[in-house]
């Protein structure tokens, strides 16, 4: 009697994608919790939130929104590229995504540096002298944009690893679920910013 030996292991790409979606749901609750805190404190201090928001520059915020939206485009296109076997185009698109992410962080650095230079940072004397609603606004601003920026940094590392995988052929036309997973994470980072932007920058 002969036995057949399976030489390849079973891969479940849909399962892998589902696993990443489950992780994204945990991220939704993480940031969602922060958004709930924001909502309650804005509800309780509407005028002070409006005053505090005037310190933010909507132009930089808009530029950063466009930067992240474009980075979502490039990472999405990188998957089409690898599906079509265009290895180097896919690498170029992942590279562009990482560069756009870096541009986002550079903008964020300038924003934070400016605020810190005018004395607005957690526990600063100038901040503690402001009305309670403004202290809450800036606390939420630093925590939420900070947590988001941390996720951007992590995303850059993940995408850099994907870039290396594509270069080495570990991600290729027939096996690219890891790139899809990295892309899904990146799109969530984009969606979080899509909500952060109007809530912090566009208060009337």
């Amino acid at each position: 009697m002969t036995t057949t030996v399976l030489e390849h292991s079973h891969r479940d790409d849909a399962g892998s994608r589902m696993g990443l979606w489950l992780f994204l749901f945990s991220e939704l609750i993480l940031f969602g919790g922060m958004f709930i805190i924001y909502a309650v404190y804005r509800f309780k201090h509407p005028e002070e939130f409006r005053l505090a928001a005037a310190e933010l520059d909507p132009f930089i915020g808009t530029v950063n929104t466009i930067v992240l939206l474009t980075s979502s485009l490039t990472v999405a296109m990188s998957i089409t590229a690898i599906q079509r076997g265009k290895k180097y185009f896919s690498m170029a698109l992942v590279g562009m995504t990482i560069l756009l992410a870096f541009a986002f962080l550079v903008n964020k650095y300038f924003e934070w540096a400016h605020k810190i230079s005018i004395g607005i940072y957690p526990q600063s004397p100038d901040l503690l002298n402001k009305p309670p609603g403004e202290i809450l606004y800036f606390g939420l601003y630093y925590v939420m944009t900070g947590l988001h920026a941390l996720h951007v940094i992590i995303g850059m590392v993940v995408l850099a690893v994907m870039f290396a995988f594509i270069a080495k052929g570990k991600i290729n036309q027939h096996s690219f679920v890891r790139l899809e997973a990295g892309g899904l994470y990146w799109h969530l980072v984009d969606i979080i910013w899509i909500f952060l932007f109007p809530l912090f920058y566009l208060i009337q």
């Binding site: 479940d12 589902m18 979606w21 808009t62 939206l69 296109m77 984009d190 899509i194 566009l202």
Partner: protein, 98 residues
């Protein structure tokens, strides 16, 4: 090794479609900023959040492929979002009526 054996994603979205969605996202961003410049009073918050939700729908469905996945993915996402909406609503009921 067939693609179906690995439960692989074999639906390919064209570059053009992605670029079209991106243009829509940029336009919606422009709309948000324009509305913020107008004097909408209390209505700006619901307007801004509605536009943000529309942008998220585009990102979720096309960039994140939710539209092209098996229906179970969509069900999972809806359950997660509904759970979050319940969290935020119950919190607000508490604060609005205490």
């Amino acid at each position: 090794m067939s693609q179906l054996e690995n439960n692989n994603q074999h639906h390919v979205v064209s570059y053009g479609k992605y670029i079209l969605i991106w243009l829509g996202l940029i336009a919606l961003t422009g709309a948000t900023v324009t509305f913020a410049g107008m004097n909408l009073g209390r209505w700006i918050i619901i307007t801004a959040l509605s536009i943000a939700s529309m942008k998220s729908m585009l990102v979720l469905n096309i960039f994140m492929h939710l539209k092209f996945e098996d229906r179970i993915f969509r069900i999972f996402v809806v359950v997660a979002l509904v759970t979050f909406v319940i969290f935020i609503s119950l919190t607000f009921f508490d604060y609005a009526f205490t």
